[in-house]
């Protein structure tokens, strides 16, 4: 670039005075700000919509879960419908498999043996002190059940032993608070989330209860003998009537209060309801 070109450029720059009018500036900036605002609103709207969707989904999920839990137990005065069975089956299967299949055969046997030993030692203790398990005696509640399925696991209680022979078996009225349940045995552990309480013995769930306004729904698994609930887990399946099958699960109405859930022709857990006093 020669000197003349530099002068030309310098002269050109000296003449750079014109500007767009303020009105144009304002119009352009306003348009840009409007777009920014619109984008922000869109973003807020999207976020709000997403939040509402998530909340709605959560609420619906909770409602569905509650309904499933409610319908998974026998209605007090109505027989279990196919719809109810269909609703509860998948969830129950998942729960049962995930919890029970985690134990190996050896572990299961060991667990059973531990429960038996614990019961035996308690039996001796009660016989020695000539004490009855007051919690059972005081809280007994009559509920009709299949004779061979449910009994109270307190052989020291002769009254109960007699009842075992009759058609009227008795279920214990269990505490409905976690603290009360844990008091039933020193080895128990548990947790409470919302209206759901779970009780574990040796890290295996043996009791689960869900509290409703005037009703508590109990579920009991193998091992619940430790809290005086005796269930013949190896009972003959042929004795059970009024069963509904869904996928790998069979749900049998023992009576209008008690339900047995079987998987692969093996009793997995029982469900019953207890009124809140």
């Amino acid at each position: 670039m020669n000197a003349d070109d530099k002068k030309i450029r310098a002269l050109y720059r000296l003449g750079r005075q014109e500007n767009p009018s303020n009105l144009v500036d304002k119009r352009i900036k306003n348009a840009a700000h409007r777009v920014t605002l619109k984008r922000q609103r869109r973003w807020v709207w999207s976020l709000s919509t997403a939040a509402v969707i998530v909340l709605s989904f959560t609420v619906v999920l909770n409602v569905v879960e509650t309904e499933i839990e409610t319908t998974s137990n026998f209605p007090i005065s109505a027989p279990l419908s196919q719809g109810v069975i269909n609703d509860i089956a998948p969830i129950e299967i998942e729960n049962s498999f995930s919890e029970d299949t985690s134990l190996t055969m050896h572990e299961t046997k060991e667990f059973e043996s531990q429960v038996a030993t614990k019961l035996e030692s308690r039996k001796h203790k009660m016989a020695k002190e000539k004490l009855e398990p007051t919690r059972n005696k005081a809280n007994l509640k009559r509920m009709n059940a299949a004779p061979s399925l449910l009994t109270l696991a307190s052989p020291a209680d002769s009254a109960l032993a007699l009842e075992e022979q009759s058609e009227h078996l008795t279920l214990p009225v269990l505490p409905t608070e976690l603290h009360g349940l844990l008091l039933l045995d020193d080895s128990l552990t548990g947790d409470e989330v919302g209206n759901k309480i779970q009780v574990f013995y040796k890290d295996k769930k043996i009791i689960e209860l869900i509290k409703y306004r005037s009703l508590v729904v109990f579920k009991a698994w193998k091992g619940s003998e430790i809290i005086s609930l005796k269930v013949n887990w190896d009972m003959a399946i042929s004795e059970l009537k009024n069963c509904e099958v869904r996928r790998a699960k069979k749900i049998c109405n023992l009576n209008k209060h008690i339900q047995a859930v079987l998987i692969e022709e093996k009793l997995e857990y029982i469900i019953w309801e207890q009124e809140v006093e």
Partner: protein, 181 residues
């Protein structure tokens, strides 16, 4: 980092993300250069303002595809295209001048004598008389600050072509502004 150090592209993205001050900063950077580019290209003040406004609206509305690599090139391409469209509509000469250069030089010189304009005004008048392709190269270099290669890319021609155009433009300007040099 000072705001002046932020690249055009970052400001544009920030504005897109909701930072309206980013747009203001970007606008201030190109407010005068872009307007002068349009004005010196041959538009009247009012027409230049219209094209200037429309160019920014294209940017704001996002109707044109943003080349993230080079905001400046994108902005000037939009403005130049809109300006050319307007020239076409007004049937103003857009291609290289077919007029004899001597006639142009005579025209500039006569205009200067008649109006008694100074050198600063003379260069403005001289620019108006350059063929549009040469004028574009001069203005894109001076106002947009683009390199020869960037101008070549923008106009889709070889870099050598741009060099030739700028050489011709400067030669004509030297001739017409002889008295001022």
């Amino acid at each position: 980092m000072a705001k002046t150090d932020i690249s055009d592209e970052s400001l544009y993205v920030s504005w897109k993300d909701g930072d309206k001050t980013a747009f203001d900063l970007l606008y201030e950077r190109y407010r005068q250069p872009l307007f002068l580019f349009l004005l010196r290209r041959g538009h009247t003040q009012s027409a230049a303002e219209d094209v200037f406004h429309d160019s920014w609206m294209r940017i704001i509305d996002g109707n044109s595809k943003f080349n993230e690599q080079h905001f400046r090139g994108w902005l000037y391409t939009i403005a130049r295209n809109l300006s050319t469209d307007l020239f076409r509509k007004l049937a103003i000469r857009t291609a290289g001048s077919l007029q004899d250069e001597n006639i142009e030089a005579h025209h500039v010189s006569t205009q200067r004598q008649q109006e008694g304009i100074d050198c600063i005004e003379l260069i403005k008048v001289s620019l108006q008389n350059l063929p549009l392709d040469q004028k574009d190269v001069f203005l894109l270099k001076e106002e947009a600050g683009l390199s020869l290669q960037q101008i070549a890319d923008m106009l889709c021609v070889e870099r050598e072509t741009i060099k030739s155009r700028i050489r011709y433009a400067m030669k004509k300007l030297r001739d017409w502004m002889e008295d001022c040099l």
